[in-house]
């Protein structure tokens, strides 16, 4: 297996992009990545696209061919593959692209993630629920928020986690997002505002839940040798692991541990030859604030049950020991579903290059955790300078 490097990154703005079509959004991220890498376009040998639900959001499947086409690559006839695992779709695209380069099958590959959700109006929430078990969860009236809410309630009961702890995750991520020009929400919020926002699914409130956003992101990967021709600051992907779990929350033996995350993290650390304590910066999947607390625990940043302490003690703040979600995370940078796993990779790359502007942290190794649904899919990627 060859060493894989990120040689270009790009991202659209995130948010309610009323004026832009799906094609426009993807293209803006792709072109930015090409410019960043200094490529013309014809050097790309394959494309992987993470997209959750083009079929429902746009009435359009066959998204990978569509994007290759509108990215001006149709004449090259390169293989273009859509992968999907709900909101972990981006992470899957990154992993497949890594595999394609590491194996020697391709030299330069683009991995993108994209979602356009705002065109369907109020149906977006119901569509997101198709990340969980339609027949045995959604049918009963369970929403994605309510499933995470039941995890949160259990976590509170079992470990003494408080609504204030969850709110602090949101406050931190909003604060970070003020420093990110691509973020959807660029204003600080107070703990009081978060704690008094309306309930979405008790005990989770509006500020515990990431928005559903439009957005796209792209990374260009190359083998180590080739990377050196294009960039003086290659960021290496030292591991990219993926794992699965029961799709329905109710089928899992331990409702407070995402086994897919634990499994993918263990593999990734082993392959990268590092431990949790060596991670200097992380982007994790805070689709709901409780998910960030679980991530601290399941990634090994804290022991099980002690995740909330990290946020209480400021360990995961921008100036803490392990800054988490410097971009603002899904909560404040925006959650463009299929784009999220790639957007996380873009942020970690910028951080390790030293190009993260006002939100720059100091780190040798970075980690990205992308989760699908309530944890039936997880990808953990480790980046190093």
């Amino acid at each position: 297996m060859r060493r894989v490097a990120v040689i270009g990154v790009g991202q659209s703005k995130f948010g309610e992009l009323w004026d832009s079509s799906f094609r426009d959004i993807v293209l803006s991220a792709g072109v930015e990545a090409l410019e960043d890498a200094g490529l013309e376009g014809k050097e790309l040998e394959a494309m992987y696209i993470g997209n959750m639900s083009g079929g429902r959001y746009l009435g359009q499947e066959h998204i990978a061919a569509l994007i290759a086409d509108y990215a001006g690559l149709a004449e090259l006839n390169i293989p273009s593959t859509r992968v999907e695992a709900a909101d972990a779709s981006g992470g899957l695209a990154l992993r497949q692209a890594c595999m394609a380069v590491a194996s020697g099958m391709h030299d330069i590959v683009i991995a993108a993630g994209a979602e356009k959700v705002t065109d369907v109006g109020s149906k977006a929430m119901e569509i997101l629920a198709s990340a969980t078990d339609r027949e045995w969860e959604v049918f009963t009236g369970a929403t994605l928020a309510s499933l995470y809410a039941m995890i949160a309630r259990l976590h509170m009961r079992e470990f003494g986690t408080k609504p204030e702890d969850l709110a602090m995750v949101s406050v931190k991520n909003h604060k970070n997002a003020t420093l990110n020009p691509k973020a959807q929400f660029r204003r600080e919020i107070s703990l009081e505002v978060a704690l008094n926002s309306p309930y979405v699914a008790e005990p989770l409130r509006l500020f515990d839940c990431a928005p559903l956003s439009d957005g796209a992101a792209a990374v260009i990967l190359a083998s180590e040798d080739i990377a050196k021709k294009y960039t003086d600051t290659p960021v290496y992907i030292s591991a990219c692991s993926q794992a699965s779990d029961y799709i329905a929350l109710h089928s899992r033996k331990d409702l407070l541990t995402m086994q897919a995350v634990v499994h993918a993290a263990r593999q990734a650390y082993e392959q990268a030859g590092i431990e949790a304590k060596d991670v200097g910066v992380a982007e994790v999947h805070d689709s709901f604030t409780i998910a960030e607390i679980l991530a601290y625990e399941d990634l090994g940043f804290a022991k099980k049950g002690e995740g909330a302490e990290l946020i209480r003690e400021g360990v995961t703040c921008l100036d803490g020991e392990i800054p988490v979600n410097p971009s603002g995370g899904l909560k404040a940078c925006g959650h463009a579903v299929g784009a999220t796993g790639i957007r996380q990779a873009v942020e970690i790359t910028l951080q390790l290059r030293g190009e993260a502007g006002k939100r720059q942290v100091d780190a040798e190794n970075g980690l990205a955790l992308n989760v699908g649904g309530t944890g039936a899919t997880a990808t953990v990627t480790i980046f190093t300078r």
């Binding site: 929430m125 119901e126 009963t140 009236g141 995890i151 979405v200």
Partner: protein, 129 residues
Amino acid sequence: MLPRFWRKIKYRYDLVGTKCKNCGNSYYPPRNLCPVCRRKSDIAEMKFSGRGEVISYSVVHEAPEDLKAQKPYVVALIKLEEGPVITSQLVCDPENVRTGMRVKKAFRKYGEEGEAGIIYYGTKFVPDE
């Protein structure tokens, strides 16, 4: 009614799941393959009593279009007395739900299929104490 609903009627209405005779584990919703035994699975149908206990719950305030009329409603993780945990609506005043509460199954209306206006029924749970 759409086939994907009537195909499940027995399982939904009567709380019929499955049991693996190889390892003794029982499953609801039903499984054709036991995740412990896989190809050694020996699956038979099994009717569940419909009694259980609330493990966790949420009061849903932001509901999908077809359930907006019912909000706020309670969704719960219920541990059946035979072992499996299931997701279900709990017909109960949100103020009165608590973790550890005993519940039992009940036959209730679930929703309406948009186009044909067909009404779906299924199992919900009600307090049993």
